[in-house]
């Protein structure tokens, strides 16, 4: 194995950048689609359940149309997730050669979850006319459960990269592995909960935005109202919980991965009474032009203004992540999170004061459209925070990203091809989803016609 390590170290800096960009690009693309794979089945099944219970045609129509969009998104999510499993080996053989077996368990479990999800998505989408309504509704439940389970399993593997556990190394060779300890590492609880809730927020705000556009265009019928309210309510209920979980995740970093927190907040020197910085640019070891809240970080991280916060200076310069990217990505995520919280409160307030009516202000509806875009942006920002904040490590404290990358040359060519394919894929996905959203309502009033 030693010769391969020399080779692995031989990748040029440009190739490392190309590999990281390709991985980040394809993963960043998949993560948004995957969110819909987690959240959309539950919201669709909710609509179908209400349709069966109340016999309401609007809920039934919505369930049918959401199922169609879900089918497209699931297909795109399945294939855009597949390339990631290829890339794990194609781009990061140095990671997989040593640690593939350590993180294999959650991926094996995810494989089964994905199987169940794919099987029941197939049944759910194609059996409207083959099963009774109640049986059809029930086939949606495994899709919901497996979607959440998939997200959980995959994120445990990412959590392991932040808190690697469950293995013993001897001179770079694994001598013992405890797969369950690796999977249930300390970062697993906060990271998995944070991601699953984020998926419901992306789905709920994203779906609601489609109907907010219709409402802005004056289509104030019940179809648009219900289409907006159902997913928006799910997302708005999740949002305050998510902010609490985010706080938990940040407190987790303070104790378990202090370098990442230091990068998030641009803290150079270890100290007590560390202020919280809003905005600002990290230059020459300090955050400039930032708004300071005295002792804010110490309080947020430990509920104690005198609490000790570890600074970047505790590790050598070549083990520090790039502060500005991490700091700003985190700020973007938090700002969007609180913006979405306010949006939910706005609806709640109007609902109460206007006797079960949403706000009249057009500003509210514009904000709801924006929320459909902002929620996935927040997921991307959060993901950049955790991934870039771990650099230069791919396995924190054990394996550097530069040592895991493939030594194969000219990775920028592969990157260019992947970017072109994804550009076409993005355009086609957006176009197809828009067509589905704009189709006349009558077109879906009945299930798909039975082909002779």
């Amino acid at each position: 194995m030693s010769s391969s390590w020399c080779l692995a170290a031989a990748a040029s800096p440009a190739d490392l950048v190309a590999a990281r960009t390709q991985m980040g690009f394809s993963l960043g693309w998949h993560i948004v689609i995957a969110c819909f794979g987690v959240g959309m089945p539950a919201i669709t099944v909710l609509a179908e359940w209400r349709a069966i219970r109340t016999g309401d045609g609007v809920h039934e129509l919505l369930a049918h149309r959401w199922a169609k969009a879900m089918g497209v998104l699931f297909a795109v999510g399945a294939v855009s997730g597949t390339i990631l499993s290829f890339e794990m080996g194609v781009l990061w053989p140095g990671l997989m050669e040593t640690y593939g077996q350590v993180i294999g368990l959650p991926f094996t479990l995810e494989g089964f979850a994905f199987f169940i999800e794919a099987i029941f998505v197939g049944i759910y989408l194609y059996s409207w006319d083959r099963l009774s309504p109640r049986a059809h509704l029930l086939t949606g439940l495994p899709v919901c459960v497996a979607g959440v389970a998939s997200a959980f399993f995959v994120v445990t593997a990412n959590a392991w990269m932040n808190q690697p556990r469950g293995f013993d190394l001897d001179n770079g060779t694994l001598i013992q592995v405890s797969p369950w300890a690796a999977m249930f590492n300390p970062a697993t609880p906060p990271q998995t909960v944070h991601m699953v809730l984020a998926a419901f927020m992306v789905t709920g705000f994203g779906m609601a935005a489609v109907y907010a556009v219709g409402l802005l265009r004056g289509r104030r019928d019940r179809y648009h109202r219900v289409g907006f309210l159902l997913p928006f309510t799910v997302a708005a209920v999740v949002t305050p919980v998510q902010i609490g979980v985010g706080d938990w995740a940040a407190k987790f970093l303070a104790t378990n991965q202090p370098v990442k927190l230091a990068a998030i907040e641009g803290v150079r020197q270890t100290g007590t009474h560390v202020p919280l910085h809003l905005g600002g640019v990290y230059q020459d070891g300090e955050l400039r032009y930032a708004l300071e809240i005295p002792s804010g970080l110490s309080i947020l991280a430990h509920w104690d203004p005198a609490a000790l916060i570890h600074g970047l200076a505790e590790v050598p310069p070549d083990q520090r992540p790039p502060v500005n990217v991490v700091h700003w990505a985190f700020q973007v995520m938090v700002v969007i999170g609180f913006g979405l919280l306010l949006l939910g409160l706005w609806l709640l307030l109007a609902w109460w004061r206007r006797h079960r009516e949403p706000p009249r202000s057009r500003l509210f509806w514009y904000a709801c459209v924006l929320a459909g875009i902002a929620a996935p942006v927040a997921v991307e920002a959060g993901w950049i925070t955790t991934e870039v904040g771990r650099q230069p490590w791919i396995v924190w404290g054990h394996l550097r990203t530069a040592d895991a990358v493939t030594p194969v040359p000219n990775l920028s060519v592969g990157l260019a091809v992947v970017v072109v394919v994804y550009a076409v894929l993005t355009a086609a996905t957006v176009y197809v989803l828009r067509r589905l959203a704009r189709a006349p309502q009558e077109a879906d009033a009945r299930p798909e016609p039975v082909r002779p």
């Binding site: 391969s4 997989m96 794919a118």
Partner: protein, 344 residues
């Protein structure tokens, strides 16, 4: 049988399922490509779409399953294959994206221009993806992926006689399986004309595949001596099973026993895969990486096997239901539901 041998057998079972099920889905795409003009090919395309639609995603998961078991159970071999085969694996991954996305998009689109464009992307990628995966198999089988990260030539590992044979065979086998499966689907849909059309295609691809396999013997003799000796030695009984099952399929097709042909055709293709496995045993990668040497630590093997056994308890009944549901006519309850959606 050791834990490592058991795990690689499970992995190979997964690969067999992928080839027999997803292979046929790719084959359906090949026939979509060759179905002719928009109007002439409409009936064939509709049948292909209806057969693939509910099952292709589940069939596709077998590939993920195989990849994950490979990196869990045999991480060094996985890293060696993935890094050396950077080019064909990237192209296959992009083909998988194009195939799946275009298929879903075509179903959700009504305008003819876009349906044609998505259909072309679906059909072309259905040919290219199995081809590139076949070149990877050929490279491994001919010993061009030595252990170690990117130790093999990144071009000649998959551009060589055995890889080209592997690619061509993969496409031919996919088309063959699809044609055989579609005969029965067409008959169940009540279309004798379509059944006859796919029967002719099945017969033609059976002959093409047989000729390819015969040429393959000469190619392997010259280009992959280790595999050749394995196939003509220890693997010979399995190869004979494949050939006999292939011949039986030919006869059954001529007699129009479509359901029985499905079984014999699947046996013929599966036996090819297992013949390769038997021929190469106990090596994972040539020249000298054995199953035991490539295997993960004992605890990982144990946990993976247990988890797979438990997972199978959930998976198998679900899969059986999926296929049973779409292989039988719509139920009376379903008909009522179709007439009165929403349960009113």
């Amino acid at each position: 049988m050791t834990a490592a041998e058991l795990l690689i057998s499970v992995m190979w079972l997964g690969l067999t399922a992928y080839v027999l099920l997803a292979g046929a889905d790719f084959g359906g795409g090949c026939w979509d490509l060759l179905a002719g003009g928009t109007r002439r090919g409409a009936a064939q395309r509709a049948l292909i779409e209806e057969s693939i639609g509910p099952v292709w995603e589940a069939n596709h998961v077998w590939l993920i399953f195989v990849i994950v078991l490979c990196w869990t159970g045999f991480p060094g071999a996985f890293a060696a294959v993935a890094s050396t085969m950077y080019i064909p694996l990237t192209l296959a991954a992009l083909g998988i994206i194009a195939r799946g996305a275009a298929f879903a998009f075509r179903k959700a689109t009504t305008e003819l221009v876009f349906r044609r464009a998505y259909g072309a992307a679906f059909a072309l990628s259905s040919v290219l993806t199995p081809f590139f995966l076949g070149t990877v198999a050929g490279g491994i089988a001919s010993g061009r992926v030595p252990p170690g990260i990117a130790s093999g030539g990144i071009v000649r590992s998959w551009l060589n006689p055995t890889s080209l044979l592997g690619g061509a065979l993969a496409v031919a086998l996919a088309a063959y399986l699809a044609a055989v499966y579609l005969c029965q689907d067409a008959r169940r849909a009540g279309s004798t004309a379509l059944a006859e059309a796919f029967r002719r295609r099945a017969l033609a691809t059976a002959v093409v595949t047989g000729v390819l396999a015969a040429c393959g013997i000469a190619i392997l003799h010259a280009d992959a001596p280790v595999l050749f000796h394995g196939l003509t030695g220890r693997g010979l009984p399995v190869v004979v099973v494949s050939a006999l099952a292939g011949l039986a399929s030919l006869v059954l097709l001529l007699l129009r026993h479509y359901l029985a042909t499905r079984v014999t055709a699947a046996i013929a293709v599966a036996a090819l895969l297992w013949g390769w496995a038997v021929a190469q045993y106990p090596l994972v990668l040539l020249p000298d990486l054995t199953i035991e040497a490539a295997a993960a630590t004992p605890e990982v093997l144990r946990v993976t096997l247990v988890v797979t056994a438990v997972g199978a308890v959930l998976l198998v009944p679900s899969l059986v239901w999926l296929f049973a549901l779409f292989q039988r006519p719509r139920s009376a309850a379903g008909e009522r539901a179709a007439q009165h959606p929403g349960g009113r």
